[in-house]
Amino acid sequence: MFDNLSERLTQTVRNLSGRGRLSEDNIKDTLRQVRLALLEADVALPVVKDFVERIKKRAIGEEVGKSLTPGQALVKIIHAELVALLGEVTVPIDLRAQPPVVIFLAGLQGAGKTTTAAKLARRLIERDKKRVMLVSVDVYRPAAILQLQTLATEVGALHCSSTADEDPVAIVDRALDESRRAHADVLIVDTAGRLHVDNEMMAEVQRVHAHAKAHETFFVIDSMAGQDAVNAAKAFDLSLPLTGIILTKADGDARGGVALSVREVTGKPIRFLGVGEKIDALEVFHPDRMASRILGMGDVLSLVEEIETKVDREAGEKLAKKLKKGRGFDLSDLRDQLQQMIGMGGMGAMLEKLPLPGGINAAALKDKTDEGQLRRQIAIINSMTPGERKFPKIISGSRKRRIAIGSGLQIQDVNRLLKQHVQMEKMMKKMSKGGMKKMLRGLPPGMMPRGPMG
């Protein structure tokens, strides 16, 4: 089984060769992989079907950019479509209403409503300097009220006490009164978890909601939820005027396809991600990050963009000119290359973003190619004289010893760098004839760290 979509795609696109337009034929396999990957990420089936259909329509006839394979071009389309579907970044919480502004939380059992209530309170208190009151109308789960009360104390929020034998509607009425009297800016109402098919409980939450006069109504859902999440989301959306969605437990390793499903069926924006049990673990939602996560494709796109923007064009052009003039690729050029790689977060960061073919062990590669390694190589070059950098051939045994001492490394390290430079030089010569693409292909795995960017 493949781990993620990028691996799936690497497998399918290997057979695609040449450039040209995307056609029904050359994307068929890839689309199937996309479909499976989305299903494995727990995106609901109807949503997956619509989505794949849309991708197909958009992709067919699309011209494939020069530097991309059809598979990569398709991924780009898929990612863009996912981001679009996941929605725009909106205001995290809308407080433009007469205080107390009521925030209402609803969802299934165990979704994390109570923890989320405390996290929201903390955010409002610390970031927005608001006076916040918390109230629980969960009269069912043992100690749910006490849980919220404890959390309220922890985050420094006011708490409207309630007991398990009260009517939730009465609690909410009282909480509104109390919050007004206490001059609270915000009142957060935590409700009992309930099943969307439990008509009685759904009617109850409607009643409570009507009394709460909520300004924001959030549906809280576990980011690990399965195919059934769409039904739950639909039912809650029908019963309550939802204004947003909060995904919890997003710090786990679930793909979070539920984000897509819930967003698609409710049309409501995702506002926050809960990312841990600590009360400050609440993040504003970013569609692009979630898109990459659902696809499980690391961050191929941002890598592509980064390579395009961060590689210093001027330095590249200078090098190209130099190479054309027939002058070699010397050690100062190598140093420039290494520095650019550090600028991009080192080889490790790049590797994480690249979908590596199955045979290559990313962790092992990363070990060899961390930023420290690059910095050590630069240190070696820095310990050379300008003459040595220009004409590495003059570096004799005693010079090597001096360089090693100067850079705080071993002679073997110096030797290794010089050897790499020789290989690199050869490749650069090839490149001046065949271009970047060809060189990348001819790159032996061992040479990966030595940075082919130019």
């Binding site: 494995e40 849980q147 786990g252 396809g257």
Partner: protein, 325 residues
Amino acid sequence: MAMFKKKKNPQEDQSSRDGFIKRLRSRLNRGDSWLTYDLTKLAPGGKIDEDVLEQLETQLVSADIGVDTTERIINGLQRRLDRKELKDIEALGASLRGALLDILKPVEQPLEIPDAPRPYVILMVGINGAGKTTTIGKLARRFLDDGLTVMLAAGDTFRAAAVEQLQVWGERNNVPVIAQKSGADPAAVIFDACEAARARGIDVLLADTAGRLQTQQGLMDELAKIKRVIGKLDPGAPHEIMLVLDASLGQNALVQAEKFHASLGITGITITKLDGTAKGGILLSIADRLKVPVRFIGVGEAAEDMQPFNAEEYVAALLAGRQDN
């Protein structure tokens, strides 16, 4: 010492069992119709072809069965179709039933509390919000009904009010709860509880733990420590490490089960919240992959809504059409 295994009137036992199956059926098929119902509609002429199989594949995936396990089931049916063994909808239903049972039957191993050792220690683990504490409450009721004495250990010392939540369950069932203050070392709490249970001659000790995500290595190590510490008092303890899983979860539940299993060696699984419209299909993926015994399934709020897992009942409930209810 209490009487062991006091059996209830067998007739009464049977009737509550029938009631459970009925509830299971009605709940699994609530909301959207499922499987057979749709299949009958799909093959009006009764002819089974690739389209029907594809539709079935869709249905299985929508039940969270997962792409892998679904593919295996469908491939098996496809082979039978190629051999012309699937003539009509009944044949398809029977084959599907067989395929599901092949996966589930091996994990149908009810939890039996032997006469020794005492206390029989059950360590409950799972992610946040899976339903560990509620499951403890229901299991306590169940063991009491079987004539066993029960004690609870409040090992969730992290979440606000978790101790109090367990204490409420203790009061409801009238069983002792061993607890310390919030923030105490869970291993110490559970160790104390083991000692107390032994001193009082308790039959079953149910130990609660804080919910944790499988990605939180530090917290997973904490569980391993709890297990180690309990083992000091009785090398065989904990006798059962039960993973509690929420039936509405998707494919990550499989990852959860795998990681908890790798860290702790879970010996049983309990599936909760099967009373939504979720089919708990992840159970099939887990059974298919991990082969860990499935102990109980829960289909509702009431204590009697938690029953030992029975593969045939579960499959029958899955395959029952709405019209059967």
